[in-house]
Symmetry: C2
Subunit: 211 residues, 2 copies
Amino acid sequence: MSRSYGQYCGLARALDVVGDRWNLLIVRQLLMAPARYRELLDGLPGVATNLLADRLRDLETAGVVERRLAEEGNAIVYALTPWGAGLREPVEGLIRWSTPLMVRGPGGDRFRAEWLVVALPALLGDKPAVRRPSTLGIAVDGHLLQVAATRSGIAVSPHDGRDLDAVVRADASIVLGLAAGVLDLDDTRGLVDIDGDEAAVRAVFNPPAPS
Amino acid sequence: MSRSYGQYCGLARALDVVGDRWNLLIVRQLLMAPARYRELLDGLPGVATNLLADRLRDLETAGVVERRLAEEGNAIVYALTPWGAGLREPVEGLIRWSTPLMVRGPGGDRFRAEWLVVALPALLGDKPAVRRPSTLGIAVDGHLLQVAATRSGIAVSPHDGRDLDAVVRADASIVLGLAAGVLDLDDTRGLVDIDGDEAAVRAVFNPPAPS
DNA sequence: CCGCATCCTCATGGATACTG
DNA sequence: CAGTATCCATGAGGATGCGG
């Protein structure tokens, strides 16, 4: 564990726990689903294996992460504790704040479609409630995600095979711009390929109200 | 600036900008008010002066902080840009998340009453709307803060001399526990000294509904 | 004084190799 | 597969210097 700030302040104490390098990115991975050590290494390109082991130990000691035995016998699975899962709110806040950094596009950075499972609910969550339930597919970078929009909220996950009302195919930066409301479907003709019920797409990627 | 994560992910890019040590604590200080270099040093106990200078340069380059010339001539004042001020939401989220770390009390950590100016709105903000406008004083650690509760929200600032409906005197950990809703006024008799209109205090530090 | 820049030491991070 | 061990580069922390 790194050096404490030694300040009796909620932000400083939170950062004493999750402020070290890689910690919040590990939390991001576990917000998607519990994962094995190897899956974490794959989902965190650039992390050194000794650092991942150190950080998981720190987070476990702090009560953010817990080790579980996988259902199939003796494999170890890492998962967030209930308190650790409470980091979803500040993590989503940082993701929303980062929108100006993301619309520039990926540049040379590595990208995993699974990261959108955390980002899209953060960006779509504060939109007006959808008008009618629907399930969209998001095809990006060769992967297919599904966005299940109901009156009680929006859930994003890898596609599980269910029927889709529509499939949207676009680059990640376009999908993020649409979800954040800084792009709208009418301004991205030719960059977004919609297959199926376009109205269902518009119900989720709600274009900003014209001014 | 430290090494980039090299991930095209909103969280990773946000942390590329504000994830370095001390950065979010600098933002915390500037969320209270623009400040001079010396005030930042005072409000960030433990920071090395060269690090503060480095971080301010990084944050300015990234567009989070801007230097201004103070009104009285040639002094430099640091302030958040509009985008930088958008960090209030994730910072408040981390403060709410840190509640279990704060109710344990300060231990040996240093404390500044001014930090409550950021923490209290974060903890009080999701409470039910106050029933009637009031202005409270919070006396903690020899300092007096004021909490102005209106139907449109809650504002916390150093006391500016206006009339107060009531003054609450308690340790910082008690004030934070009350604001977070993990303590209520009836369980802290003897630890909280209320001077004035107790009903006005209860309207802000709303005790949790009995189960 | 204020607003930094320099210098030095040591803890932390990163890459790779290795082991149960 | 799930981590340790090792080595080196980098960054943090503290003291001090220095021009305005």
